[in-house]
Amino acid sequence: MNEIIFIIIAVSALGIFALPKRSQYYLMLGTQIFLAALTGYLMYLSFNRIEPLQIYLFDLLGNDVSLVIDSLSAFFIFVINITVLTGALYAKGYLKPYLRDKTRLEMAWHYFNFLILHISLLMVAMLREGISFLVFWELMSVSVFFLIIFESEKQENKEAGIKFLIQMHVAFYFIIAAFIICSIATGQNIGFESLEQYFKDYPAFPVFLLFFIGFGIKAGFIPLHTWLIHAHPAAPSHISGIMSGVIIKMGIYGIVRVLTYIHSDLMPIGVFILIISIISGIFGVTIAIVQHDYKKLLAYHSIENIGIIGIGIGIGVMGLAINNPVLASLGFAGGLLHVLNHALFKSLLFYAAGSIYQQTHTRNIENLGGLMKKMPSTAVFFLLGAAAISGLPPFNGFISEFLIYTSLFKSLMVSDSILSVTLLAGIVALAVIGGLAVFCFTKVFSIIFLGTARSDKTRHSHEVRSSMLFPKFIIAILIIMIGIMPFMMLRPMSFVAGVFVDDTSSLRDMTGTMSGISLSLSLLIVFIGILFFIKLKLSKVRHTDIGSTWGCAYTGSDPALHQYSATSYAEYIIMKAKILVGVKKHFRYLTKENIFPGESYFKTGSSDVFEDNLVSRPAGGLLSFMEKIAVFQTGNIQHYLLYAIVFVIVISIISIFGII
């Protein structure tokens, strides 16, 4: 049975190369739907079981490689399938303009990698054996690399792709190192099973830290995030959506999977995760506020949401540490639910951003404006995503943040003073992150869609075709459903949290609260409906007119010039968070000698302070050091022969004197 499935998938994957350009897409989509259905079935089987579902695959170097699916894996399978499928549906419309310019091979390679990505994501979520896990992990990174550099004509895309690849391999080395340590210390094979034994015998924190750094680079915790902010803008939008939605969540998956094996040292680990997550959340959203490239901005928001997920997971771990099942189950449930929610609204935002890019060919929000009139559906979807990411009711972001808040407030009561202060810091951090997200997204949405056009880049824009709107619509329905009827998620989340905690009754007890939320949201909708109805009735009797915006009747110039710009909107935050956002001004002073001033310039830009200090400076230092060594590479064969002779002489001397 397994062989048949494997053959089908292999044939489809390779068959993509054989087909003409138009049909390649459908083969890929079909295979992905097949995979989703298959894994969906496995997911369904695995829920409701106490023991994880095991399916034997093959033998590798004498070890059994099986798919091991517990509730956690099943949950991630669900997230992966939804995001990849909606991304694939979206890709049809998004890639259409590229079909003309790209060759058949290029498109086939893209679809092929997309398919490989889907497969490797699913396998990573389902495998426990080390070597196969690492193989598919690496395959995931490589396929994403090729997907990122789809538009390889642009130099910056290639650079972004290479930065991505390098950082993924740095992460890979950390993960391998951690696995090897566990394997050697316990004498078992490389894999997650060895962790069980290792964490029983040795202190957990050091190896956990190795895993955390490795998986954390993938997830995008600060200060390990620097690949994210280049890869997301460079990649085509359907890939960016999947990257933010699912690929960085595999980092979370790795961390959480490792956590399932740890039973000691939990408090320091929990506090550590909490602090890094708070930092990621606040920094991520603050730096997002000053960006002008909307895709980079969305990338920074992904970092912020990873922070929120981390806060939930940190709380969960702390709950395990003090043996409080309420805390643990609520914390994990909130953090992991946010994985799903973020995948939904972030992919929605990226797809909307992709539609904007397709119509305007610019990523700079300072050139946009007034798109609401031209692209109303995209605008509404973007607004939905923006409200969801800010955690506002009645959307899904609020539900996961609510769960995390509840866990924080409940745990306040049973903790000692230092822990209380940490928890309060978490509460304040969540509140501030929410407020900053509102700030940032009102800015982005307003500058892009509202007001009047700031340049003529929007002149030829129109609404995108329905194949691009349809996946956004599906995601929007899911967002609203989770937001208004949160009790449907309680049961699945209690299974997922059950992987960590034995007693998840507190989650089931939340049914009352969730019903309360639904009730209040229904009340809200009823009020809106009543007032809207009144307004409709009134507008028939009242005198309504259309005019221009009141600007104090200034007749001097075009009102579009008076609009707020993105930089002005963000000004307060820039002023207060100068160190963080690193907004720098470059300009040349006007000299006093000239009566008529000559040409001058003024430029503002922001740079990521972490990237500057952790990546660019060391890399620059390393490169300049390398350049000094490079004097030995003269290209002259006589010199190389000389090096060889010197080397032989040195070795002979050393061995004669018996040092080696």
Binding site: H543, D545, G547, S548, W550, A553, Y554, T555
Partner: protein, 250 residues
């Protein structure tokens, strides 16, 4: 804060308690009365004397206080024929009622001309937007004073607001210069209906001394019905407040 409260106590009552029954100093130049018809020669002289062509001879002798700048030259020239009383209730909604003839004891308000929606909507609250259309700022000062502690028209719910969208009407002062004509039109268009149009001051009602100037452009007033004329140069706050109160039916 204690200091401020002490100062308040020292001031005593600062507001005019009864705005409708207040009595102004006899020096105030309010409604003129024509005690006796001037002779032909005197009329000739007065017409030449009046700086703003306010003398009306059609249908008998009269003074059009919509054009009068209240300089009192005519009263000084013929003191037994013309006298300026301190009656400040000189506003009306009908231009014809602004002409004072012999025997008139008050400026009449034309009740039929008041639009019904004005009475229905604005009885308890009226918000106005002031447009300063190029005058000498004297009426603006007085309008400002209408809202101060002394006169406090806010007690009736009458207020000047910032945005025409929030307003129920426009109060125009100044002769409407060419530079302000477009801005005035934009402001009027930005006010939601039903709305009132009020002209305050001689400059606004008739153009005052500037009516023959090429810089003045008054086509705006031909387009829309004016709800209230408040004469005066400048109009006294009590005039304005009583006029508006009369308009909204208080």
């Amino acid at each position: 804060m204690i200091k401020e409260i002490k100062i308040l106590k020292q001031h005593g009552i600062q507001y005019v308690p009864d705005l409708k029954g207040a009595v102004l100093t006899p020096l105030f130049r309010g409604r003129p009365v024509i005690k006796e018809q001037p002779s032909e020669a005197e009329t000739e002289m007065l017409i030449r004397l009046c700086p703003s062509d306010a003398i009306v001879t059609v249908g008998g002798f009269g003074i059009d206080i919509g054009k009068c700048v209240f300089c009192k030259e005519c009263a000084l020239a013929c003191p037994n024929k013309i006298e300026f009383t301190n009656d400040y209730k000189i506003a009306t909604n009908d231009l014809n009622n602004l002409i004072v003839r012999q025997g008139d004891s008050e400026i009449k308000f034309n009740e039929e001309k008041i639009r019904p929606e004005v009475r229905k909507l604005f009885k308890n609250a009226l918000k106005l937007r002031q447009v300063s259309a190029g005058g000498d700022n004297s009426c603006e000062f007085e309008l400002n004073a209408s809202g101060n502690v002394n006169f406090d028209m806010g007690r009736y719910g009458i207020e000047f607001v910032a945005s025409p969208r929030h307003a129920d009407g426009i109060v125009i002062t100044g002769p409407i210069t060419e530079n302000m004509a477009e801005a005035l039109q934009i402001c009027w268009d930005a006010t939601p209906g039903p709305k009132v149009l009020i002209l305050v001051g001689t400059d606004a009602i008739s153009g005052g001394m500037f009516k023959n100037s090429p810089a003045v452009k008054r086509e705006f007033l031909d387009k829309y019905p004016v709800d209230l004329y408040v004469p005066g140069n400048p109009a006294h706050p009590l005039t304005f407040i009583n006029a508006v109160l009369r308009l909204i039916g208080k």
